[in-house]
Symmetry: C2
Subunit: 460 residues, 2 copies
């Protein structure tokens, strides 16, 4: 029950007023804790939004997509900068943040630190995940399914060559040039095959090119890339763990993933309209949105359960509901959710990016840097080459298609993290993969802008 | 690294695939944990939404506001029912929920329990708090400020008599009839003075009567009630802690609260339009919404810092931005947020309501029940009487105004929790206050519907 020095003399109240939702009476400690959580989250949120707006605006002013500004805002306030938004495990938020919250909430420094390490991380990871989920749901709703099917074979050729080329060249280089063992070389090469569906679709949305033929080919290829990705993961993990490949298991996983996406496509004409029609008979005007979001989180959970990214489930949920009387209404309803939560997602990607791995006084960082340079070159060159492989009867902007596959984003980090968790990766290889992911993610927005600007795209 | 028995044979993948946002490589444990959090939250969310839709629809079908159905949905899935949404401290979620999540995520039962006790509670409390905050923000945006000022003196008379009458009658009854000591009687009486601005405004919104003159009087009175509430709290806590009243402190608190609301009203014509004009010059079309929400959370934090409810800060933020070129757009943008998050708020209110305190084999429950019956009668009668005290030159539905002040909701629970934390309340008095809060909250929706139906209201 320590006193808090506040100018307006309300300290007894601040100590004692129970927070709004703490229904079960748990005394002054629980109260101060809940107040601390609310204030810590609020302070963090304000800084996230203000920095995202500021750097987003700067990016727009110099002709780049807003998302690049949001990534940079994350760099500035995250682990590489001001230490305001600290989401990496085992890191600590800046002292002044802790001091500010402790002072207003009346909590101890230690308990406020615990609040930033626990609840605030949980909330911002959740906001971010919801944000990218809703973004992909909206992209699924807006996707032109006919066009997506029409470009299916082209997307497939891009996806497959966009996996084989980087894996082959990366594996060869890591083995032959850098003399890595088979397993680290395999994980490094596998990380090169990823495509960040979240980042690439947001960039295209910012640029207004998502519904061009190129946009739909990139989108389709990114979806297929995720399916191919789980196959590569299964193989890599099998070899690292047991030295063998469980062919039946890998096939089973890929088949269930393909079935999941294929089923969703067929549900677009049957289940989707029927479900919306059912919801529209409810008396509550919010029922359609709540019912759609319920379906969305269900599909995200199914995707996660069969080993896909949960956001792929969100995209597929959007595809299912993309052909109903309420689709336009749902698209509009997603806008505020995307605005508030997807922004947090892109800032957190930047905030988690640790530029201190660039420290050159560290030997593993030096080796890592040379591997990273190689990986970045391979990452960009092979995906762009994949764009030229696309089999299509139409004239399309092949440069833009390849460039759209460049950002590895969070998907590449999954591979890196997985490799690290098997213990197979040395520190330098791990650093190299992280740098490659960062490099491709930050270079993609300006590259994609440049690629789309070179040629008027064929609108679908 | 235990194996999970799943039909499609992907167990090695399920064990090893890192969740989307776990950027820092933290191995299989962190991964399974994050997957567990995502699945536990998803499962809970689906059940919350499905039950809210179901009982909301039932309520509408029998002519009651949807919010009553959502409160009942909370009773059914919360601590009084299926133990799916368990937000009260020290309670445990149903075994089958834990088993389902453990099975899919591959986490141990103990770790899954910890997930439900920690992250899931944090997320749902946060969703709920955001939901009621956005609801009050929207009500602030939509509020007719001129009308609110015009009915100011009437709202003041309702608020003051709605505080004095229940406090006086409650204190007298608890002392004279039930022979309580001064301090418990004071806390019990203080809990009677509260008005739940969240519940009462949602009921009126469901009924489409929020913008009638009665609606605006109730809204104004509920705001003033919150200011009076912090004064009463300050007095009660001062007496319980030190046996004295810090008159300067209480006055300082009330003055800062009044200044906060009064300043906001003046900002409606100055800062609000200027701020929106500034935001509209940003290149990002989402800037206005993000800027408005940034202001909203700032005001919520200020309100909390000066001892008011944070949702009062949200309401006031809505008032400030209620007179701009973007107000209509902001109102529309709030709709999906209200739909998704405020629904969770009302379900959590029901979920936290513990009907097991009604267990009559428990002696403190028996005493508590008789006190509760007295409190409920006083609670309803005195607020309705306050409606008849309203000084107004217009013909208004006085019955509706008084009835609108009846639900105590979460605000009453704050008083109960605070009293309990001082150690002054016996178990029976605590039970009685909780029952009074529950009773008034659940009885308000049908009562308010009945009151408004008796007379065509004067539209403002």
């Amino acid at each position: 029950m320590q006193s808090i020095p506040l100018p307006w003399g309300v300290s007894p109240l601040l100590e004692n007023k129970l927070p709004l939702l703490l229904a079960s009476a748990s005394g002054a400690e629980g109260e101060t804790y809940a107040k601390g959580v609310a204030l810590a989250a609020t302070l963090t949120l304000i800084i996230v939004y203000v920095s995202a707006q500021l750097f987003g605006e700067l990016a727009i002013r110099i002709g780049l997509p807003a998302v690049l500004g949001e990534l940079i805002a994350g760099l500035v306030i995250g682990i590489s900068g001001l230490h305001v938004l600290m989401l990496n495990e085992g890191t600590q938020v800046a002292d002044w943040m802790v001091a500010a919250v402790s002072w207003i909430a009346g909590s101890s420094t230690a308990s406020t630190r615990q609040i930033f390490d626990g609840p605030v991380q949980i909330l911002f990871d959740d906001y971010a995940q919801n944000g990218v989920g809703i973004l992909l749901f909206k992209i699924g709703l807006e996707a032109d399914l006919k066009e997506l099917i029409r470009v299916g074979s082209q997307a497939t050729s891009v996806a497959i060559s966009g996996v084989i080329l980087p894996f082959a060249l990366g594996f060869w280089g890591l083995s032959a040039i850098f003399h890595l063992e088979t397993i680290p070389a395999m994980f490094g090469a596998a990380a090169l095959t990823a495509t960040s569906i979240g980042i690439t679709s947001r960039i295209m949305q910012d640029m207004g090119v998502l519904n061009t033929r190129e946009g739909q080919i990139i989108l389709g290829a990114a979806v297929l890339d995720d399916i191919l990705g789980i196959a590569i993961l299964a193989v890599a993990v099998g070899i690292a763990d047991h030295g063998t490949i469980d062919i039946a298991g890998v096939l089973g996983t890929v088949v269930s993933a393909v079935l999941f996406v294929a089923t969703a496509i067929t549900l677009n004409r049957s289940f989707g309209p029927v479900y919306i029609n059912f919801l529209s008979r409810f008396g509550n005007p919010y029922s359609i949105l709540i019912g759609a979001i319920t379906f969305l989180v269900f599909m995200a959970a199914v995707a996660e359960a069969i080993g896909l990214e949960s956001i792929l489930g969100c995209f597929v949920a959007g595809i299912v509901l993309g052909n109903t009387s309420a689709t336009k209404e749902l698209e509009k309803a997603c806008d505020p959710l995307v605005a508030l939560f997807a922004t947090i997602f892109f800032v957190t990607i930047g905030a988690k990016t640790d530029l201190t791995v660039l420290n050159l006084s560290n030997p593993s960082s030096q080796v890592g840097l040379s591997i990273a340079l190689f990986l970045i070159l391979v990452a960009i060159a092979t995906k762009m080459a994949a764009g030229y492989v696309v089999f299509t009867p139409y004239k399309v902007n092949r440069l833009a298609i390849g460039t759209g596959m460049v950002p590895r984003g969070e998907v590449g980090l999954v591979f890196a993290g997985l490799g690290a968790s098997t213990g197979a990766l040395s520190a330098s290889v791990n650093v190299a993969i992280v740098l490659m992911v960062m490099g491709t993610t930050f270079v993609a927005p300006p590259m994609l802008r440049w690629a789309f600007a070179r040629e008027v795209t064929v609108s679908s």
